[in-house]
Every structure is written in C-alpha cells, then in structure tokens.
Symmetry: C2
Subunit: 485 residues, 2 copies
C-alpha cells in the first residue's frame, strides 16, 4: 500500500517537474474553485467533525482558498526563487564560469492534517498549497478527528486534478489504519520532506523518525508556543480596562485552540495590577465554556491545566467549569516570577483557554524571564510610547526568542501575507528560518541549485537570458528584471 | 572554561546586535586587511601545517579576504534579509495589521576549522565571514592539524577587534584539549548554530549531538560528495582526448583533497571508451604522488581506496604508488553499473586522488545510477549539443540529487559569487536549501522575524518607512526600493 502510494507520487513528481509555473497556478486556482463549489457540504461536515462554528469554518474556508490562490500567484511572481546569475568572464585568469542559481522542488512531501484547522492547515491547507506551489507532490495524512471533512476536500482536489488531466499521484489522500504504515511512509526513501502542525510530542516524534533515516529529510513542524504578553506598568496604568478585556478575549477565543493563544501574561507588581486581575478574572469567569475540537483535546487540556494549577505557588484566579466532558474551562491563574524561573513545568503549553499571570517584582525579573523564554511563535509588548524607548535590552531579548513580535495587539489572528512570519525557535517550530503562513512558506519545500556553464535551451525558464517569466533576478549582484545580452 | 567562553560570546552578541550593517562591514574589511598584513607569515606557517604549496595557499588567502569583503558588502546590500512589508488596512473587517518581516541573527555560532582549507574554510573562513556578516558572534574550534596557522590568523582577527573597540567575545579562538569540552560547547544552551566542513562521520556526529539537545540547533555541515561526471557517447567520441586529460587533472588536483573532487565517472560502453580509459590511466600513472595534508588523511585515503579496490568486480586501471607514508596514490579503477547499483560500499567517498569509472551497458543503467545517486555537491554532464536535447529525463533526475549541475566542465574550482550553490541533499550537506559558499551563506545564521504594528522608532533600519538603507523590499507584494508614505 505505502509502496504504491509512494511510487505513484514519484511518477507524478517526475511529470509535474515539467509543468510551468503558470500551469501550477491554474491547478491551485482550480482546487480553490472546486472547494468553494462544495462550500456548504464541507462546512457542514467540518462542523460535525470539529465542533467549530459555521462562522469560523466559513472564515477558515475563505482563508484556505485565499492561501491556495495567494501562494500560486507568489509562485508565479518568482521572488521566492531567489534567482541570481553571475555571468562568465573569460578574460579572467582562471576564467570565471557562468553560474545561475534557482530553487528546485524536493519531491514527495507528506503533510499531516492539523486537528485545530480542519481546512486551513489540513487536506488543502497551507502546507499543501505551499508544497504544490513549490512543484512538489503531496500525500496528505488525514487527521483522524476529521476524516469525513478530509474526504470531502479530497474529492474537490481530485476534480481539479482530473480537470487538468494531471497525474493522479500529484496529490493523494492517506488515511492511517495502522501507526506502522505512517512510520513506513516517513521512512520511505522517496519521501523528501514533511509538513506538520500539532503537538510538541507529535512533531518531535516525527522529526526524530525522519532524522533516523539513512537519508534524513527536513521536517517543518509547528509544535508548541505559549505566546507571552509582556505588559509594562505605565501602559497597565493607562489602559488596564481595555487590556484586560482584549487579553481575556484572546485567551478564550475559540476555546483557546489557536497556536498563538496567549498562555503567559508577564506584569510588574503595581497598584493598578489588582484592578487588571479582577477585570480579566471577571471576563474569564463569565466566558461560557464551549465544545472543544474533540474529546482527546478536551482531556489533554484538562490534564495540562491541572498539572500547572497543582504546582507550588500557582493560584487559580478565575475559571468557568461546567463539568461537561467536551467543554473547555476558561481559566486564569497566577504565580511569581521566581516560581516561573525555577519550575520548568510552568513553561508547559496548556492548549486551550488557560493563561498564567506571572508577577515580577522588578525589571530584572522581567528581563530574566525574557532570557529564559523558550522559542515562541509570538511575543507581545503592551507599552506606552514613553515605555517603548525605555526598554531596548528587554525588547531585543524578547525578539531573540520569537518569530513575530507584536506591539500593543494580541497575538491571536494570523494574517496570511508575505510579511507574516509564522515560525520561531525550537520548540515553536523545528526551523526558525522558515514560516508556515504566507507565501514564503513555499521555500520550505525546495532546495537550491546552481547551473554552471549551461546552454540556454537546457536552463529552467527563470534562468534564461531573456527572462521570459519577467521576474526579479540578481545579475552580477544587482537586482533587476533585465534580460541578459 | 567553556562557561566563560560562552558567557563572553553571549555578552558580545548582545552588543553586536546594536551595531549597524555598515559597522559590521568595516569590521570584516579590517579582518581582511589584517590578514593581508600578515600574509607572508601566515602562508609560511600554513605550508608547514598542511603541506600545501605556496601558490595554492596564496590563492586560498586571496579567497579568504575576498570572502570577508564580499559577504560584508552583500550584508550591507541587504537582499539576503528578504524584507517584506504589508501595510495596515484599517478599513478591512477585521482590520489588517501592519506587518514587516526581516531576518535577525541567531546568536553564538560555533565553527569547526576544516582540514583541507586551513584559511578559506577555517579560522577566518567562509563560515566565520557569513556568521559575522549575519550579526552572529563566533567561536572557532581550531583544526588540530593547523593550530599554529589558526593562531596566526586569530591574531589578525584580534587586532581588528581591538581597532574597532569591539567586545572581545565577538570572535574567540578555541583549541580543544579534551573531546568532552567540545561536546560541552555543542550542548551549551547559549550556542545557537554550528558550521562544519569535513568528513561524513565528523559532521554526522556533531549533527546528532546538536539534535539531542533539549533545544536542538541547526548544524550546517558540508560532509561528503563524490561528484559524479556523466559522459555521453557522442561527446566521448568527439573529444575523448581532452576529456581524459581534464578529468584526470581534476581527479589528481591538489592530491584530490577537494570536496568537489570527481570520484565517479559514468560512461556507456563504446569503442572509443578504451581510448579514453588508456588516456586517463596514462595521465594518472604519470601524476607524481605528493604530500597529503597530514598523516591521518593520507592513511584514511589509503584505507578507503583499498576498501573500494577490494570489492568484487572492481579493477584497478592505473596508479602511481611510491610507498611514501604522506603521499597520495593517484588511482583510477573501473567497475560495472550492476556492481555499483548493488554494492553500497562503492558509493563511499575516497577523499583523495581516486576515481572509479562505472561502465553502463545502456541508457537505462545510466538512468538507474542517476536515481540511486546519493546527494552530491556537484554533478557534471559531458555531452554534445545534440545529446543535450536527447536526455531530458536523465538530466532532470541528475539535478534532483545535487546542488550544482555543470555542463562540460569539471567540478573542481568553486567560484565565490552569489549564484554559486555549494550545498546539496544529504549526505553532501545537512541542509539542501542553503549554500556554504557565496554571500547567500549568510542566510544560514539568521531566523526570520515579523514586527507587527510596530512604531517607526522601534523598527530595525531595514523596516523603517523611509528605507534608510536603500535596500530592495517587497512592499504589498511588489519589490522596490521605494519608501513608504
């Protein structure tokens, strides 16, 4: 079974390699069109599978089709190829050869569907869109929690494949029956890269297995982030009411099931702090528990919540607990900086609507926390303009530990655009150079390659003298759209 | 000791972070100047340490200072930062935030000196130049075979540090006394990346140790490549004499101690083949054995050579063996495609002046060899214009397995320029996206970071509205040097 999947994928890859960027683009647009065609059925099924609301799922579907089209357009625009050309110099001693560098797709990519985004990070989600845009072929492992949704989306993709008469192995749906089959897939010599969004344990296990292959392959896993919000005293003093409200809402949004959910709030002791705590607590306590994605996730949330709450010097400040098995428990707790700095368990991600307030005695503790912070997708700074000039070292330190740094906004909400970086140092992801959101995500699925002394007719289009794709290229160290004489 | 090294490095990093790109550039230029100042002493010492000729070492020193200046200029030019900006849209529902993406240095980088390039890939070599250009600070582990050279070069670097009154921890020289110290360095939480050029076993061991850390860090290791040359029949027929000569010279150049040394020659059976074999054999047999870099390398060469020669159906065609302990043994051997396809030991890199001719019965065998080829730094195609149109699948397959594909030139000689890719799929390197030669090598030592909703005064220079560095930036999906109104 696995052998057949992989061979079909590899055969399709060899054909897909010959297709132009514009053909790739049309294909991705067709997938988007076909998904929109089935919008109602997909939304309905995704609701059953994930307990997410219709509004949210409609937004997620919009995002899914936007990603497909946006990455396809970026792929055609060609900036991501990072083309550079150094022309020959035969007068030099020794002669300088003609060298032209571009990117080429890695091959067969395995994408794991994500539990918390049944559409935008799953069957036709961001990893799939970027791998296909890069020229790779894809095998998607359906997430077990939303196989029916995945089946519906896969039908849309199959229709797009048929419409373009593309080889069927270009995109394949894989539903795990036995764990060992997935392990076989990961270990298969023809597999060249993996995309994953999920838990730290899941991501790390896949990464380790991929690294243990005779030929290790890159795993782009987005795994674990607690997205600290640093609140500075003057800001808190000026704006505690609004801050409390927006942060409480960010904590509980969608039962907290976002990778950018703020799990840590770092503040300095102050008089106004009690007011802030009361306001956050009141909002959290009034937030209605809702269904989480599935039982497993609800249980995992509760276990981790209990783990953190049971640590010394951790005090529960507010919760809304209705004892419903599937529901979240909006929760807010506090601890001291000393405790946080000394207890590694307090750095655990509690995936759900839980946040821990860390109260620092002074700036030094805040800086120490910034230094000890594990890699994060995001860190937020809540500060006045006045404060923004007072803490250069702290801001620099915070920026070292995250992939996106945010000024006076909450971290939830991940814009799909080229300037988005959805990544960060370990354990946020396995590779802090790359992003999994925004069109630069394409770059994860290519290798660099230089063509030396090649005749024009054998060069990929983007490297030919006349620049037929009309893309930006660095020619002898100068970026332009010029052709070469 | 290690603790002190790392703390000094980290402190220096925090200061270096505040320095402008032009200040970095001046620093790298000063290092180059100081090295040139000591040219005679450095060349003399490197000759003693490495047995390399004065001409070669002068060229290598030229290359070393060129790299320092070239990467510094590229760093200032800023294209490598891949800056993109998506401006806010408050009219949209929900409002679109302002997002600005750039790269930031990883932190403390450990660079291992390479045995075969005591200057260009060692103490002030390509990895050091690119890490410093990226804004990282560096600890260099001197290669044990050329510690005295390394000491001389390090003095030049220290003078440059003093001249600029930079913190001394910005670049530090580390001489291993015990293996465990180096392991401690690799495992230290403040270490953020590693650069390595050397053997597969060395690179893999470092990579595994770095992956076993609680926070794994990227290892950019360039490890193992046998650089196949595929010769096509018509070309062989037309040009066997020249081909034989240039390939034999490429095999024996510098006792074969280059990572791009061609260790495999793949040909199809033909009448002219005997003539080619005779000519290569005669040239190899006449090539004078010379001193290799050191005893260890000479011994390793001979062991691996014996290993390959002792395999079934491997025939020695020519050698020049003078029984000198330090000398290489220019060697040429042959085997069949079937044998190569079935015996993994024949894929071993023999680091030195040895090459194996693989004789294929037909095109299918040639394609099969291309498919089974491990990741390579380079692959070369020797073909006529006529043949260049006849083998699209074979060329596509070959390009999947290498980082640089070369048309009718030998692989030795690695141009330092932006369009050079010195990298390739495992085991050639640990990361096929990146290069270790050419200014794009800088990108290995940074992470991506987005600034969301940031006030102008807090943004890095490259992200400010007015574009003070005058660099290329993608603003709302369009690349330009424009400022933002």
């Amino acid at each position: 079974m696995i052998e057949q999947l992989m061979n079909q994928a590899q055969q399709a890859f060899e054909q897909y390699l010959q297709f132009s960027y514009s053909k790739r683009k049309e294909f991705l647009f067709s997938i988007a069109d076909e998904i929109e065609q089935d919008r109602n059925a997909i939304i309905h099924q995704a609701g059953l599978d994930s307990n997410l609301t219709e509004i949210r799922l409609n937004n997620e579907l919009n995002r899914t089709v936007f990603q497909l089209r946006n990455y396809a357009e970026a792929a055609e625009r060609g900036d991501w190829l990072n083309v550079s050309i150094d022309t020959a110099d035969n007068q030099r001693n020794p002669p300088k050869p003609d060298l032209r560098k571009t990117c080429s797709p890695l091959g067969v990519v395995l994408v794991f569907g994500a539990s918390n985004f049944p559409l935008a990070f799953s069957t036709a989600g961001g990893d799939v869109a970027s791998a296909l845009a890069a020229g790779c072929v894809v095998i998607v492992k359906a997430h077990p929690a939303h196989i029916n949704t995945s089946n519906l989306v896969s039908k849309a993709i199959y229709r797009a494949i048929e419409k373009h008469q593309f080889p069927s192995g270009i995109w394949q749906h894989y539903i795990e029956e036995q764990r060992t089959e997935t392990q076989q897939l990961i270990s298969h010599p023809l597999l060249k890269a993996i995309g994953f969004t999920g838990s730290y344990y899941g991501g790390k296990a896949i990464w380790e297995l991929a690294n243990s292959r005779p030929e290790p392959i890159p795993v782009f896993a987005e795994m674990s982030s607690i997205n600290p919000i640093f609140i500075f005293p003057e800001k808190l003093h000026q704006d505690s009411e609004n801050l409390a409200l927006s942060i409480a809402n960010s904590i509980t949004l969608g039962a907290g099931q976002f990778c950018t959910n703020p799990g840590l709030i770092i503040v300095k002791k102050s008089e106004i702090l009690n007011h802030f705590i009361e306001k956050v607590s009141a909002t959290i306590a009034q937030t209605k528990p809702i269904n989480m994605l599935n039982k497993g996730i609800a249980q995992f949330f509760k276990e981790n919540r209990t783990l953190v709450l049971s640590q010394p010097n951790v005090t529960l400040l507010a919760e809304n607990h209705d004892n419903h098995e599937l529901h979240d428990i909006p929760s807010f707790a506090k601890t001291t900086a000393t405790e946080f700095l000394n207890n590694p368990l307090l750095h655990t991600e509690v995936f759900g609507s839980f946040s821990l307030l860390i109260i620092c005695d002074n700036d030094a503790e805040m800086l120490e926390i910034a230094k000890k912070m594990k890699g994060q997708l995001t860190s937020s700074l809540m500060m006045t303009e006045n404060e923004s000039s007072q803490y250069p070292h702290l801001i620099a330190e915070i920026s070292l530990h995250c992939g996106r740094i945010i000024y006076n906004q909450v971290p939830t909400g991940v814009e799909v655009c080229q300037a988005m970086n959805h990544g960060g140092p370990w354990p946020a992801t396995t590779n802090s150079f790359h992003t999994s959101v925004g069109s630069d995500a394409i770059k994860r699925f290519v290798k660099s390659i230089s063509y030396q002394n090649f005749p024009q007719h054998l060069l990929p289009l983007e490297l030919k003298n006349e620049n037929p794709l009309n893309i930006n290229r660095t020619i002898n160290n100068v970026l332009s759209k010029a052709s070469i004489q």
